[in-house]
Amino acid sequence: MHHLWLIPTIPLAGSMINLLLGRRLPKIAVSGVAIGSVLLSFLWVLNVLSGLGSLEEAHVERYFTWIQSGAFNVGFDLMVDRLTAVMLLVVTGIGLLIHIYSSGYMAHEEGFSRFFAYLNLFMFFMLILVLAANYLVLFVGWEGVGLCSYLLIGFYYLKKSAGDAGKKAFIVNRVGDFGFSLAMFLIVVTFGTLDFGRVFAQAKDMPVEAGVGTLTLICLLLLLGATGKSAQVPLYVWLPDAMEGPTPVSALIHAATMVTAGVYMVARSSTLYLKAPLAMDAVAIIGLVTAVLAATIGLAQNDIKKVFAYSTVSQLGYMFLALGVGAFSAGIFHVVTHAFFKALLFLGAGSVIHALEGEQDMRHMGGLRSKIPVTFATIFCAAVAIAGVPPFSGFHSKDEILLAAHHHAPWMYWVGVVTAGMTAFYVFRAIFMTFFGSYRGHHHPHESPWVMLGPLCILALLSLGGGYIHIPHFLEPLFPLAEGAHEPALVYISVAAGLAGIGLAWLMYVAQPGLPDAIAGSFRGLYTLVYNKYFVDEIYDAAIVHPLRDGSRSVLWKGIDEGVIDNAVNGIGRSARNVGSVLRVMQSGYIRSYATWVVLGSVIVVAAISFLGGSR
């Protein structure tokens, strides 16, 4: 009994303390509590992992039965296996660094304790999600992180845009959760339980489905959930808007941990996906499409955080591509490496913004190389890693994916290479625009304090050396490695694409600063399309949000509720009164008319008696 439950509860306790007492505690105490709880949790993870040894098979701990109704039984159970171990390390590790960083970054923001409380709460839900031993507890974590992202995005609630972004994030996640819960129902309907162990055991000996069977449907619905959470094509719109939140939030949630939850979940239910090839292809295609789409949009963004947000979406596309082609371990490997350099990129951007007191638009930056050298150095390492330059972590994980994609379907490889090129281009475009050339802003930038720069350096080291942590080898027992010819040619092509991207960026933004505007001028239509994010948000609004809102007001509320039902009810009352007024005419006041009515009555009576037969 390794008390796995301690891992999530410590951050929970930290968050409760900050929430309730935060106002009265000084800032140091608040950040101390927050960072301390994450540190403790990180240490406890290390203690548990060391205690568990090789983790060939999952170690499950069951605490109490949560829902028990008839045959169906769901308990609050936590589980650790190799996959969870990796994720745990990433979440707690990166989380710790970001907590340290944000204690500096948020130093002079009001609502300090509330921020850390939410951050800890997020850690709690993320750990629950990762440690879950059945789909329901995973769903708890799943929705919990959605809630925390809503709270954190909407942290600056005074700004209406922040509130909207938070709401948008939550609702889009909700749509994803809709898919996920439907999948859960189907799982219970087919397997009778939600426990990973028992579900996968039963799934193993089920036949591989050719067409669209139940398993494929489950996987598709799980995929819908994943797209919601990991911002894939149909439901990615919330991530770019999530930049409204403070930068550490973007770093922690929208780069390192939460967005990868979708990937983790798909990886976790790999046994189901293996039985549903159709679903696997769907995952791959969605991943690829997202990667390409996000990359193109990233090219034309001027807000530094937006660029990195679209790069995250694109990289997630890569991970889904890996999962789709069956290289689960490659996907997870890319998750780890991506966590390192993307967190670094965001935190770097954070310190840039911190330096320029909140300025985010790259056009007002430039030439910061000399002013904030350490930030520049660390960001440069991350840029190099993400571009896929050979020795660094990005290269290793991306190539693994590209090789697996090539093995699966060659055209996927080529699309992947092109996007790799574009990734390299827009990252270095951001680097050159901010750090090279002359300073175009009107602030006087100053270097961030060491409490921020420390984590940056650690992350820089990790992103450089990350490639050598052989995650795929480590996850071998879970996901059998796909043996494929290891043609070196493919690797060279991808590296070449990366370098070409960097060169092109150098050419356009350092060598001849006027070039980008010229190109943008020539492809005016294409440029505005890309710049405005293919008008996806507007399409969603027009297609779904407005019709729903106006439609329900005019048709449903006014139309049916008041129009049909209320009128019908009031109508009955009115018609009764009308009938009354018709009969009133009979009372004409003239005695002779009454007389005639009397005679009429008697004639009828006599007729009735005579024709209908009297008593005889």
Partner: protein, 165 residues
């Protein structure tokens, strides 16, 4: 003999009744009503209702019609003015009446068992003695009730017709 008597007095009654309806002036209709009543009294005699014939003459013709004639004379009511206000009466009045008559005649023709005809001596219990006996034994309660009714009517008439109202 009976038939002749019946026919005479039946025609008198019908003619007087028609006269009542047709006449414009109330006094003439009052007198024709008295005519009807007198002829009916004779018919009662034919049917053996001696006591009733007398009572008819005394009560109906003698008392009630006197009241009518009195009121007509007191109010000096003139002939009727023609005012067809109530649509209902003018439209449906006559046809309804014809229908009513036809229906009743039909009922009488079909409904009544074919009994022997009416002749003068056929029914002898109509004497005051017989009626008196039944009236004060079997129908005592109605008798008392009607007497109270008449009392009420008298008081009512007095109160209604008083001067100062």
């Amino acid at each position: 003999m009976d038939a002749i008597l019946f026919l005479i007095f039946a025609t008198i009654a019908v003619l007087c009744a028609i006269n009542l309806v047709v006449q414009k002036h109330p006094i003439s209709s009052a007198l024709s009503l008295i005519g009807v009543m007198a002829s009916l009294a004779v018919l009662y005699l034919l049917l053996g209702g001696e006591f009733l014939a007398a009572v008819q003459l005394i009560v109906y013709a003698g008392a009630i019609m006197v009241l009518f004639v009195f009121v007509i004379m007191l109010l000096n009511a003139g002939a009727e003015r023609r005012s067809n206000r109530s649509l209902m009466a003018t439209l449906f009045g006559v046809p309804l009446l014809a229908a009513f008559l036809a229906l009743v005649a039909y009922v009488i023709q079909r409904g009544l068992p074919p009994t022997e005809g009416v002749y003068f001596g056929g029914f002898t219990q109509g004497t005051p003695r017989a009626i008196g006996r039944v009236l004060f034994t079997q129908y005592l309660l109605p008798f008392e009730v009607t007497s109270v009714l008449i009392l009420i009517a008298i008081i009512g008439a007095v109160v209604l017709a008083r001067k100062e109202i």
